[in-house]
């Protein structure tokens, strides 16, 4: 391969003393010494998480404490890296929420696989899974990073609900048919 020789400009006298460069460097340092810092003292200080942030996916309960997920497995289906694994089950007939019929027996999200895309939140027909503000996921083993149902509910907490679909359904059931 042919070599191309790049011509270099010779340095001027000022450049050869390096003084102008040192002075301009010091000026930048001085300016920043008196400005408010932009970094945080993590983990003592935590950033404000803007709304819409896609953190760790979590399961939420409605304000009555009912678990919202009905184990429809749509999130399991849509999840691109196949991080979600659900074992569906029937709600026993004597339970208070028996009219919902179905709930997850186990719900696992493998946080080593999750890519935080938010598709599970988007697809959920029951508004049961949300990517909230948790951004730090650590653990000492692979198993620990497969989040189980309890952990997902503990992380998710309760979110406001604007539908109360199942409560309405139960009320309808109790009211019966209008002309019957």
């Amino acid at each position: 391969m042919a070599t191309k020789v790049v011509e270099r400009k010779p340095l001027s006298l000022a450049e050869r003393t390096f003084l102008p460069q040192i002075v301009s460097g010091l000026r930048v340092t001085m300016k920043n010494m008196f400005k408010a810092p932009v970094t945080l003292e993590y983990p003592d200080e935590r950033p404000d998480i803007p709304p819409g942030y896609r953190g760790v996916p979590t399961l939420v309960k409605d304000p009555n404490g009912r678990e919202k997920c009905v184990s429809c497995q749509l999130c399991e289906f849509v999840c691109p890296p196949k991080a979600i694994r659900i074992t569906p089950a029937e709600i026993p007939e004597d339970a208070e929420t028996a009219h919902v019929e179905k709930a997850p027996e186990e719900f696992e999200i493998n946080m080593l696989r999750c890519i935080y895309c938010g598709l599970c939140q988007e697809v959920c027909p029951e508004e049961a899974i949300f990517l909230q503000d948790i951004f730090s996921v650590t653990g000492t083993s692979r198993e620990e990073l497969v989040f189980k149902k309890d952990k997902l509910y503990a992380l998710g907490g309760t979110l406001p609900d604007s539908h109360f679909k199942w409560d309405k359904k139960k009320a309808d059931e109790l009211a019966g048919n209008p002309h019957h």
């Binding site: 289906f77 027909p125 048919n177």
Partner: protein, 569 residues
């Protein structure tokens, strides 16, 4: 069309395109032949037509004829003038007639469908997330095609019973029922056990079992299959898995010699359900409930999963070589099974040839009462395979006293048992202890517990192969799930044992290779390749066995007398 046989098909025009169909074809099926779909709920090709859902409305017209002269009326350009019926008609109650024109995509037809959908959804619950039908629900599908996307219904929805137990295997959710009456007609016309009916009127119409009756017949789960919505669900499959995760594999029901065609739904190596597959020559679109539970054998507690010699685990090669030593040079007898595939039965025959050729061979018969439908008296799926492959030449007996006799006389030293429990077939444990047993089977049983060598093999769901049903129809089944860890795949157990016995040629352990071998040995299979057997099976010549008194009585698509006649002719 062969010569001398005129083409009786008639022309009809679907959205202007000409199509030849048999006269009298139901319009829904005729349009399907044109590659288009008329959405429908209540119509089912194997049930009577009731026309109560109104989803299949289309526009229909016939070429006009002058009333006075009877001459065909023509347009100005000379084409026949079509007299369109002023209102839409239901396609399911219309049979194709010569020159018939149908519009399936016009604005009027679309409007009809949208209207019907809106009414159907008025009282329908928003249950899709918890509904087992989601993913294979006709209502869901047509709601995406013709639904409005929001509801104009502000009144209170109807409340109907949910979670009704209709029978031991079927649950009913009345709110989801769209009153198509398919299940009612099925019970009456096919299962001949009319226990379902509608009560109340108008939008309060409710499906229910008659007082004191329950849907318990052995065909009850077919109602779940034909229910276009999630109203009828299977107690066994309920809430277990979403249908869109299920991998579907063609299989065959092994509970009797009918050989119902089935589809096995599995996910990640676990089977979740078995449903019937349409085969108009065998089982139409139905199958018995009893055959749907057979997948449970795959994960049964007593499943045999390891090779062993006298109960001690060993490697496959050790098991094969000991088995070969026991079989060769001793007086051996072979007990085959009517539950083995054709390929396995043929390889057993080859093993017999390898050990000397005159080893007495038995097959364990299994009979029950035939129900005149899809459960025949012969409860072996593949008795005819054993005959065709030459493993045996007589019909199997349930009681192997001949074998018991041979053992008692001390005329047998070694038994090769393939998948049968001899203690159930008239041979006592004490007798079994007097011989050396090589047991090849899927499960532990009393015979395997006294066996010298145990060789685990695969169930029908874990291998592919063929069965020959009562009509002498060779039917293929495919592998749905992988076999247990450590068990050799496919036909390897059989081919490797055959090799160890010193068979001259190696046979690769796949059905298609075994079929190549069989072509030379079985006259009926001479020009048949495994790859060429169609999905619906192919009937082979049965004249060699016409003299045998098969036990089956008449059933769907099977009449033993007619079968005997055609064979004799």
């Amino acid at each position: 069309m062969s010569e001398g046989q005129e083409d009786k098909r008639i022309p009809i025009y679907v959205d202007g395109e000409e199509l030849k169909v048999d006269p009298g074809t139901n319009l829904i099926d005729a349009v399907a032949l044109a590659g288009k779909e008329v959405p429908h709920y209540c119509y089912h090709p194997k049930l009577s037509v009731v026309g109560n859902c109104r989803m299949c409305l289309v526009e229909m017209g016939m070429p006009g004829r002058d009333r006075a002269t009877g001459e065909p009326m023509l347009e100005e350009d000379g084409s026949p003038k079509i007299m369109w019926v002023p209102k839409p008609v239901i396609a399911c109650a219309t049979n194709a007639a010569p020159g018939m024109h149908v519009r399936t995509e016009s604005d009027l037809v679309k409007e009809c469908r949208e209207g019907v959908m809106e009414f159907l959804l008025v009282n329908h619950p928003l249950d899709c997330p918890i509904c087992d039908q989601a993913g294979e629900c006709r209502l869901q599908e047509f709601a995406t095609d013709y639904g409005r996307g929001y509801s104009r219904f502000i009144e209170q929805k109807n409340v109907k019973p949910k979670r009704t137990r209709l029978g031991p295997r079927v649950m009913l959710d009345d709110e989801r029922c769209i009153l198509c009456s398919r299940c009612i007609r099925f019970c009456e016309e096919v299962a001949e056990d009319p226990v379902l009916g509608f009560v109340d009127r108008g939008s309060y119409t409710t499906l229910t079992a008659f007082p004191g009756k329950e849907l318990a017949n052995n065909y009850s789960l077919n109602t779940v299959d034909i229910c276009p919505v999630g109203a009828l669900t299977s107690t066994d499959f309920r809430f277990k898995m979403r249908v869109w995760f299920l991998k579907e594999t063609d299989s065959i029901d092994t509970e009797s010699s009918v050989g119902c065609n089935t589809v096995v739904g599995s996910r990640e190596g676990k089977i979740y359900r078995i449903t019937p597959r349409r085969n108009d020559h065998v089982n139409d679109t139905w199958m018995p409930d009893s055959g749907r539970a057979l997948y449970k054998q795959v994960e049964a507690e007593n499943r045999l999963t390891g090779y062993s010699i006298e109960g001690r685990p060993c490697s496959p090669d050790e098991a094969f070589s000991l088995a070969a030593t026991l079989l060769k040079g001793h007086r051996a007898a072979i007990v085959g099974s009517g539950r083995l595939s054709v390929e396995e039965q043929y390889l057993l025959r080859r093993m017999r040839e390898a050990v000397g050729g005159d080893a007495p061979t038995f097959l364990v018969g299994r009979t029950g009462e035939g129900d005149g439908k899809l459960l025949s008296a012969d409860r072996n799926p593949n008795t005819r395979g054993a005959l065709l492959t030459g493993l045996v030449d007589t019909l199997p007996k349930e009681d192997l006293h001949d074998l018991a006799h041979l053992i008692a006389e001390g005329e047998v030293d070694t038994l090769l048992v393939a998948g049968e429990d001899l203690t159930q077939a008239g041979v006592t444990r004490e007798q079994l202890k007097r011989v050396q047993i090589v047991y090849m089977g899927t499960h532990h049983n009393d015979t395997s517990s006294v066996a010298k060598v145990e060789i685990p093999v695969l169930t029908v769901f874990e291998k592919s192969g063929t069965f020959v049903n009562q009509q002498f129809r060779v039917q293929k089944f495919a592998q749905a799930v992988p076999g247990p860890k450590g068990v050799l795949f496919g036909l390897s157990n059989y081919t490797r044992l055959l090799e160890t016995l010193g068979s001259p040629r190696r046979i690769a352990p796949s059905p298609s290779n075994v079929w190549k071998e069989m072509a030379g040995d079985v006259p009926e299979f001479a020009d048949l390749r495994f790859e060429d057997i169609p999905r619906t099976g192919t009937v082979v010549d049965d004249s060699r066995f016409a003299h045998l008194p098969f036990v089956e009585g008449p059933g769907f698509h099977f009449n033993p007398e007619r079968a005997a006649e055609t064979a004799g002719a």
